[in-house]
């Protein structure tokens, strides 16, 4: 206001009027355009992120379906190649001519058939156990993991050990199964690819979080490799781990120890609410 009051020259006043108005309009138009373009950029970025997320979900789903199909094929192969011939052999021993044969031959045939049927029962039990480990179902994650590690260690090729520090509050059975499958997949990868001499698993809880860490001294991967592999067309097992972690709202981290000697894989997931039904 002041500078307008002291201005006496008409052309100066006109100039102030036009420049002032022009400046205000430029300011307003600039602001509005900035908001529009910034918002467009943000929305485009969000859409890009969404598309990536969808793409990754698709890949996870494909991996999951593929894994399920592979599991079915393995089951079909086990039943067809192992259980089928065993039962057919047992049937041969128990054919119609059995009644016409002498007693010792009859007894021998029945004994053989019983042996084969026992083998078949064992085979079906093994298949069933591979689908749902009975230790996990009956005694929980701690026992199932310890059992798994004892079996691996018992083979004599690798030293495997596990320790649960605080597992007084068990996870929900469905969560335990997911965690167990993840551990199985990780152990399977370590056995297949790492060429390590030991595997060690530790469990603990902190606050409302449940932690599991696997150490091994072989060849391993770090988080960036994991993320790259889950986004690529290979790494079916890792994709499966990633999708399972999402199911339990957890996170997984692959890293190398500070000493650069060991690889560490850390699982972090929320503990179950004790009041939740």
């Amino acid at each position: 206001m002041f500078f307008l009051q002291v201005t006496t020259n008409h052309s100066d006043v006109s100039l102030v009027l036009f420049l002032g108005t022009l400046g205000m309009l430029v300011l307003v138009i600039g602001l509005i355009l900035f908001i529009i373009f910034h918002q467009r950029r943000v929305i485009r970025y969000q859409q890009k992120l969404q598309n990536l997320e969808i793409e990754q979900q698709k890949m996870m789903l494909t991996a999951s379906i593929k894994l399920q199909e592979e599991e079915r094929q393995r089951l079909a192969a086990d039943l067809h190649d192992d259980a089928g011939p065993l039962l057919a052999t047992a049937r041969l021993y128990l054919n119609e001519n059995l009644v016409n044969q002498d007693k010792s031959t009859q007894l021998q045939s029945i004994y053989q058939a019983r042996q084969i049927i026992d083998d078949t029962i064992q085979l079906i039990r093994n298949i069933s156990h591979s689908l749902m480990p009975p230790t996990l179902k009956n005694f929980g994650l701690e026992s199932a993991v310890n059992d798994l590690f004892q079996k691996i260690s018992g083979s004599g090729t690798i030293n495997a050990s596990s320790r649960f520090h605080d597992y007084s509050d068990r996870l929900k059975p469905e969560k335990e199964l997911v965690v167990f499958r993840i551990i199985q997949e990780l152990i399977n990868n370590i056995l297949k690819h790492s060429n390590s001499s030991f595997i060690h698993l530790t469990e603990n809880v902190h606050g409302d979080k449940f932690y599991l860490r696997i150490h091994h001294d072989g060849r391993g991967i770090v988080q960036s490799d994991f993320e790259k592999l889950t986004k690529s067309n290979i790494g079916l097992g890792l994709k499966n781990i990633s999708s399972r972690m999402r199911v339990v709202h957890g996170s997984i981290n692959f890293e190398k120890d500070i000493s650069q000697t060991y690889y560490k894989i850390t699982l972090e997931l929320p503990k179950d609410d004790p009041y939740e039904s």
Binding site: M1, V13, S14, T21, V28, L31, I35
Partner: protein
């Protein structure tokens, strides 16, 4: 007021452009009858239309009351449009406090002045600054939220853009008017152009508001059809 023909034309266009928001409201009456922001714009448009329509017949004796009433109505309408969108409760309370203070200040300034120069420059200047602050805060708030959907698909964006155009273009004219009416008056018609643009943008906003009502109605009438 003596007008040149072209200026008279601009004035008439401006005056009758205030009927556009009213007409668009009437056109979408069924969808907008309960929308307070649309009703406020209609009331504002009708009042300003009448004020401008009878401007020529107004005695200079009542110019002070006329200007005060005009500025107050304009300020209240613009503030309401912005306040309806702002979510921050404390800022809304601040707006209320500032609005009461502004109206008291305006009455004090306009009615305590011995000599009144055709237009109340100081209150209009403050009105403009206040509305600009409210509008900037609204954009800042929306900037933080960044909901999905483009900002120009929202009705309030057009209302606020119209207000900003009008106020920013007329700011210097208004503050200059009481000091140098001769020069300000020479180019005054330019503010009418921007005010006309503001009314057109208000119409765009009203139409968008009506369209949104139709969309909301349609989406709520579809039953839940998913199997699971």
């Amino acid at each position: 007021m003596k007008f040149h023909k072209i200026e008279r034309l601009f004035f008439n266009i401006l005056n009758y452009s205030f009927l556009l928001p009213v007409l668009s409201f009437v056109l979408f009456f069924n969808k907008l009858r309960f929308k307070r922001v649309a009703i406020v714009i209609v009331i504002y448009s009708v009042i300003i239309f009448l004020l401008l329509f009878f401007d020529d017949f107004l005695s200079d004796h009542y110019r002070k009351e006329y200007s005060t009433f005009y500025t107050t109505i304009e300020y209240l309408c613009f503030t309401y449009i912005i306040a309806e969108i702002i979510r921050d409760r404390s800022f809304r309370i601040l707006m209320l406090v500032l609005s009461i203070s502004f109206i008291l200040f305006e009455l004090l300034v306009n009615f305590s002045l011995r000599q009144f120069h055709r237009i109340d420059s100081v209150p209009i200047g403050i009105e403009t600054i206040l509305i600009l602050i409210y509008a900037f805060f609204l954009f800042y708030e929306q900037f933080k939220v960044m909901e999905t959907g483009y900002i120009y698909s929202k009705h309030w964006f057009w209302f606020v853009t119209g207000i900003l155009f009008y106020l920013s273009s007329s700011f210097f004219f208004n503050i200059l008017a009481s000091n140098n009416i001769e020069i300000a008056g020479r180019y005054w018609y330019l503010t009418w152009i921007f005010e006309t643009i503001k009314n057109i943008l208000f119409v765009v906003g009203i139409i968008l508001l009506a369209i949104r009502q139709v969309k909301d109605k349609n989406s709520s009438s579809i039953p839940y059809l998913d199997m699971v």
